[in-house]
């Protein structure tokens, strides 16, 4: 069993304020018009820990929506790398287990055979403190996806917190996390009873899920039914191509690169920004577009998350956070599409659309 500490709620607040002297402390904050947003806190009291999920996950700090990559001298083509802005010494508090899992999923893309320079830098310089979920959120199904409601990762995070009423159980995930908790003044070592309480909470949290997705055999089933009518029907009747789904999805990694030249044509700034397979231009090449239909684009989203990702990275691209269906203006839910294909398979209908 890993070493854990107990921090009373007051001590937790003191700890945060101590950390603020040394780190940029980021956490969920309740904003004026109602959204809860991950941003830097000015005081421990700013933290809004009783939240379900934010619109954009903490992904935005490690893989920002827009990133400046290079400055290029147009005369001699010399390239200068632009270091990621505000890199360094950030601690993100209260990262939900699904979002932590999502970051580890992103790691497989950006820290695989070839490492992305900017991602590596921000990932390394950002510490993550996970907060376990004591109950399921409405649209969430992280339990089915193996991402929650309590942290399932072995590594890749720094601390794991469980809210246990009057205090927090804080467990160590990394050396750097250990360094963080050592700064807490009134900490005491957790006793075996504390871990039992945690297990209890976890059991209760698991039992609170109303949304499930059967994942066994799902990738194979989806890949054999790429022509299933659910994609066309849903796409035509409801998909707006607005890309809300991929914007909020914490594992989406696609980007576009864009050059911006100064008006006097002397310097170019090369930037990248999030892109989405739901956009018409995404698969366009000179003289054609390989996903010109909405059906094809919706299928790309669903099959990438629930099928091809597994072949690419050995894990699902969906952590079950529930964001995409929550913020889709027409409520398109990829689990419902998957379930329809599963049902059709059970009644012997899905095979008809088998991909030859």
């Amino acid at each position: 069993m890993s070493t854990g500490y107990i921090l009373a709620n007051d001590a937790f607040r003191d700890w945060l304020n101590i950390l603020r002297n040394e780190f940029t402390v980021i956490g969920p904050v309740l904003k004026k018009r109602g959204p809860i947003v991950f941003e830097e806190i000015q005081d421990a009291g700013d933290l809004h820990l009783d939240y379900c999920s934010t619109m954009l996950g903490p992904r935005k700090f490690i893989y920002p929506p827009t990133q400046r990559l290079f400055r290029i001298d147009n005369q001699n083509h010399r390239v200068t790398t632009i270091e990621p802005a505000d890199a360094g010494n950030a601690v993100i508090f209260a990262v939900r287990p699904c979002d932590m899992q999502a970051i580890s999923v992103l790691d497989r893309t950006f820290l695989g055979d070839i490492e992305d320079f900017y991602y590596r830098k921000l990932r390394e310089e950002t510490l993550t403190v996970v907060l376990n979920c004591n109950r399921a959120c409405d649209a969430g199904f992280c339990e089915s996806m193996g991402a929650g409601p309590f942290l399932r990762l072995e590594d890749g995070y720094d601390l794991e917190m469980t809210s246990m009423g009057e205090n927090y159980l804080i467990e160590i995930g990394s050396r750097r996390g250990e360094g963080l908790i050592e700064k807490a003044v009134h900490r005491k070592e957790a006793a075996s009873g504390d871990y039992e309480t945690k297990d209890d909470l976890q059991r209760k949290a698991i039992a609170s899920f109303t949304k499930h997705l059967e994942t066994a055999g799902l990738p194979e089933l989806l890949m054999r039914n790429l022509d299933h009518p659910v994609y066309r029907e849903t796409a035509e009747a409801r998909c707006l191509g607005c890309t809300n789904c991929t914007m909020v999805c914490p594992t989406c990694y696609c980007y576009d690169i864009e050059d911006d030249m100064s008006f006097d044509l002397t310097v170019t700034e090369r930037r990248r920004h999030w892109d989405s397979c739901q956009e018409l231009h995404f698969a366009r090449v000179h003289g054609g577009n390989f996903r010109s239909s909405r059906e094809a684009r919706l299928r790309q989203f669903v099959t990438h998350k629930l099928a091809t990702w597994v072949e690419q990275y050995g894990c699902f691209g969906c952590v079950g956070c529930g964001r995409c269906m929550t913020w889709c203006p027409t409520g398109i839910d990829l689990t419902e599409m998957a379930k329809r294909i599963q049902q059709d398979f059970e009644t012997g209908r899905a095979r008809w659309w088998a991909y030859s």
Partner: protein, 274 residues
């Protein structure tokens, strides 16, 4: 190391191949290490214009030089084709996999190219002709819209003259002007000329996806294993290193797992014309 950071390349030589296609011979400007295999590609770029993928059309490095053959398709390609010897452009790579020449050893080799797709096949054609003893019969079946679009025609004619390789070429109907040995029609018609057992041969093809579809389907009908047919795919590419997601075909990244795929494997996915 920042994999998105381009190096600088110098244009050494430019040859106009036809009215919209140029071959640019390049070398790295800063004496960097460089090596590549036929089938791979580079991301070439110009500041302000962005970057795009281009296959090697040369067989191997010669005095540090390599060649790309580029058709003017849009603004970036137009600007690259306007460069002159001594100009600089940016380069990242090489990326992607190579033509499976090892797998072809001891078998008949069928190479089918269409349009600008002939350029990425040029290195393997040259390699096969230079190492004829390693293969069975060699077929080079090339098609293009017009005679002018048949890239490297004279070069291939010279290379195959008096050798074992069979070079057959077609142009679209009504586009044939002078040359008696060029036929009219589709490149697939040339497949009928193959008089070896398709089961003992291996196919490399590059060209419009519809062309590759008909080539592959006909070869399979003739008895070739779908996993012995290798297609070179083209997709939009932004990164070249399996990060930006643009080039995905199902579970495959064209930039990393490809651009060359066994037909039987890539065909399982949606959104291709195969």
């Amino acid at each position: 190391m920042n994999p998105l950071e381009p190096r600088r390349a110098l244009v050494r030589e430019k040859i106009q191949e036809n009215r919209e296609t140029y071959s640019l011979t390049l070398s790295l400007a800063d004496h960097d290490h460089f090596s590549y295999r036929p089938g791979q590609f580079n991301m070439l770029g110009l500041p302000g214009m962005g970057e795009a993928p281009f296959s090697f059309s040369s067989l191997h490095l010669e005095r540090g030089r390599f060649t790309h053959t580029i058709r003017e398709a849009g603004s970036l390609t137009r600007s690259i084709c306007q460069l002159a010897a001594g100009d600089i452009l940016s380069i990242r790579g090489p990326y992607g996999n190579e033509w499976p020449l090892e797998k072809a050893k001891g078998r008949h080799l069928i190479i089918v190219g269409g349009g600008i797709g002939i350029a990425p096949l040029r290195p393997v054609i040259r390699h096969a002709l230079g190492n004829g003893e390693e293969y069975g019969r060699l077929y080079f079946l090339l098609g293009a819209r017009t005679e002018d679009d048949l890239l490297f025609r004279e070069e291939f004619e010279k290379l195959t003259a008096g050798r074992d390789g069979t070079l057959l070429m077609t142009v679209d109907r009504g586009e044939k002007k002078e040359l008696s040995h060029i036929r009219e029609g589709l490149v697939t018609a040339l497949l009928d000329e193959i008089d070896v057992d398709p089961e003992e041969s291996i196919t490399f093809t590059c060209g419009p996806e519809l062309m590759m579809r008909f080539v592959a389907r006909q070869l399979i009908q003739m008895g070739q294993d779908p996993y012995d047919i290798f297609v070179s795919m083209e997709r939009r590419m932004k990164c070249g290193i399996a990060h930006c997601g643009h080039c995905q075909i199902g579970a495959m990244y064209v930039c990393k797992d490809g651009p060359i795929f066994p037909y039987g494997d890539i065909k399982r996915f949606a959104d291709t014309m195969l």
